[in-house]
């Protein structure tokens, strides 16, 4: 019995990984992913950073947080509705694996994409702009945690029962822009009025940005342990609405 369960777990991990690798091969170079996942964070970063007096390291911390936020969250809202539209999602749903496995596979897809683009951003920051990193291991952990959490957040929008990526992109982009402005990315947390700061604490991006500040600049407002813990728990909690919406889709027949 235990052996059977272990085999099942091993199979499910393999299946989740297979789904991710397939997504990487099929979708990473599609225009939707390049636009929303790759170019968007860089455009956003430069539009707010050009002309400001920030140092290279502060800029790199901001770029890393924005990259993981936008890039990781781009996969789910693009891939799942596309697969629903062309019918390939049915093949995944009908396969002998749990819904959680499928969703974890999709989460890994977005996370890998975010980690790869973050690595590019990191390389550019270090080599071209001369930034330095105060705590490299924390930076790596921060990128990984942020990538998984924001990929899981993007999955919520991808799970909306629709076959049109356009139906999902708008609410997804609206939420992400909203979070961007309240999360201490453009206005440091320390400069936000204490009476309004609680709004920032509602956003997971706040913790990702603060974690990157600790890792790259060496200072932040929240304990890195708390930020890491909140990102981790948020990542798990964000899977719950996705599961619920998939069950609703199974009832609605989308």
């Amino acid at each position: 019995m235990i052996k059977q369960k272990l085999t099942r777990i091993k199979n499910e991990i393999n299946q989740a990984w297979t789904v991710s690798i397939k997504d990487v091969r099929v979708y990473y170079l599609t225009p939707g992913m390049i636009m929303f996942g790759f170019l968007m964070p860089f455009f956003m970063f430069f539009s707010y950073s050009v002309g400001s007096n920030q140092g290279a390291s502060e800029g790199l911390a901001r770029l890393l947080a924005m990259t993981s936020f936008f890039t990781a969250g781009a996969a789910g809202p693009f891939i799942i509705p596309t697969e629903r539209r062309i019918g390939t999602y049915d093949r995944l749903l009908a396969a002998p694996m749990s819904l959680l496995t499928l969703l974890l596979g999709k989460t890994v897809t977005g996370a890998i994409f975010a980690m790869a683009v973050s690595l590019l951003a990191l390389g550019a920051g270090l080599l071209i702009f001369g930034a330095s990193i105060d705590q490299p291991l924390m930076a790596v952990a921060g990128i990984i945690f942020s990538a998984f959490t924001f990929s899981s957040l993007g999955l919520i929008f991808g799970s909306i029962p629709t076959t049109k990526p356009g139906d999902v992109q708008m609410p997804s982009t609206l939420l992400r822009w909203g979070l961007l402005f309240i999360s201490g990315v453009f206005v440091p947390l320390s400069q936000i009025a204490p009476s309004l700061r609680w709004i920032s604490y509602l956003s997971p991006l706040t913790y990702a940005q603060d974690l990157m500040n600790h890792a790259v600049v060496g200072s932040g407002n929240i304990s890195p342990w708390i930020s890491g813990g909140i990102l981790f728990i948020s990542g798990i909690l964000f899977l719950l609405p996705s599961i619920r919406m998939h069950h609703q889709a199974r009832i609605k027949g989308v």
Binding site: I86, T88, R91, L93, A94, A95, P96, M97, R250, G253
Partner: protein, 334 residues
């Protein structure tokens, strides 16, 4: 023979229970192991909805389903392992090659690593795709994608295969190849549940067929038994020159003709007494100086049964020559 699928009071309502759309209405049926079971019905009858419920993709509003003796609502994993699914749309990854599509499917359907390559090779050869295995599926023709989609549904050697409109839209040769394959799979022991609106295909392939209309199963039987239920209505096909096509109204008005429908340059006249109608046709032609090119009598087809059950008049695929006769077949007793 063991039961592979058992369905009891299966119902699906899209939307709210009291105001939604009733797609499947308390249907009951069984499919035996080793059978080719056809599920026929017009568009919107509930065929695909039923199939999606049987393959775990759609949650029933009420009712129960057993697959291979196991309750689908409780033992989904077992059902998913033994089911192969080929939906109406060829759902292949266009950005992957035929080979990679099969390898991916083999992996998520838990085909042992050692067997994946040999199975993929066998299937690609069987479907005539071996030479094109490295080409991206986006460069495949419609028929090739269909064959690849079926191969993907077979890679894990399912005990139960669901085929949704397997040959619709394919050229005659591809359709014939796939029909041959369905027979071969069935001979090898695979139970096949095929949804189709191609009645002749169901007639040639299926051990039994169910006809579903407006969400309810109207009848289930072997094709031959179903045909015998409308045996009393036969038809005569007549072709005449010159301008035989223009005589539909006159032929349709002959005594004993239930309905008349145009078939190219011919007329098909439905009647309960062909022997009585034949001399009248001869007389009709002689009186108008027409030459009879061909004259054939036909027994009822499965299509006649289907049209009878789904509410279409016999021969209603063409405009009836006599509007007054349009609804006559519905009045007849089966």
């Amino acid at each position: 023979m063991d039961t592979m699928i058992k369905v009891e009071n299966l119902t699906k309502i899209y939307g709210e229970a009291d105001s939604g759309v009733l797609a499947v209405d308390h249907i009951n049926f069984e499919v035996k192991q080793g059978e080719i079971f056809g599920f026929l019905g017009p568009n919107g009858a509930g065929k695909t909805t039923t199939q999606r419920m049987l393959t775990t993709l759609l949650k029933p509003t009420s009712g129960r389903i057993w697959i291979d003796g196991k309750d689908l609502s409780k033992e989904t994993y077992h059902a998913k392992k033994i089911i192969g699914l080929v939906p109406e749309v060829s759902n292949v990854y266009l950005e992957l090659s035929g080979w990679d599509n099969l390898m991916f499917t083999a992996s998520i359907y838990l085909v042992p690593k050692k067997e994946r390559k040999s199975r993929a090779q066998d299937l690609l050869k069987m479907f005539g795709l071996w030479e094109k295995r490295e080409i991206l599926a986006e460069n495949y023709s419609k028929g090739m994608r269909r064959r690849l989609s079926i191969a993907m549904g077979l890679i894990h050697e399912p005990d139960l295969l669901f085929l949704d409109e397997a040959t619709t839209g394919l050229d005659a040769q591809s359709a014939r190849d796939i029909q041959g394959l369905i027979r071969q799979l069935n001979q090898d022991g695979t139970t096949i549940f095929m949804t189709t609106h191609l009645i002749e295909e169901a007639n040639q392939l299926c051990d039994r067929v169910a006809i579903i209309n407006h969400g309810k199963i109207a009848t289930i039987d072997t094709p031959e038994n179903l045909k015998s239920t409308v045996e009393r209505v036969q038809s005569i096909i007549v072709a005449m020159t010159p301008n035989g096509q223009k005589h539909g109204e006159g032929l349709g008005a002959l005594p004993g003709v239930v309905n008349a429908s145009k078939m190219g340059d011919k007329w098909r006249l439905y009647t309960e007494e062909p022997s009585a109608l034949l001399p009248q046709i001869m007389e009709y032609a002689k009186a108008r100086d027409l030459k009879i090119v061909s004259l054939n009598t036909l027994a009822p087809s499965l299509e006649d049964v289907y049209l009878e059950i789904t509410g279409g008049a016999l021969g209603s695929t063409e405009e009836p020559s006599n509007p007054n006769m349009q609804n006559q077949p519905k009045k007849r007793r089966m």
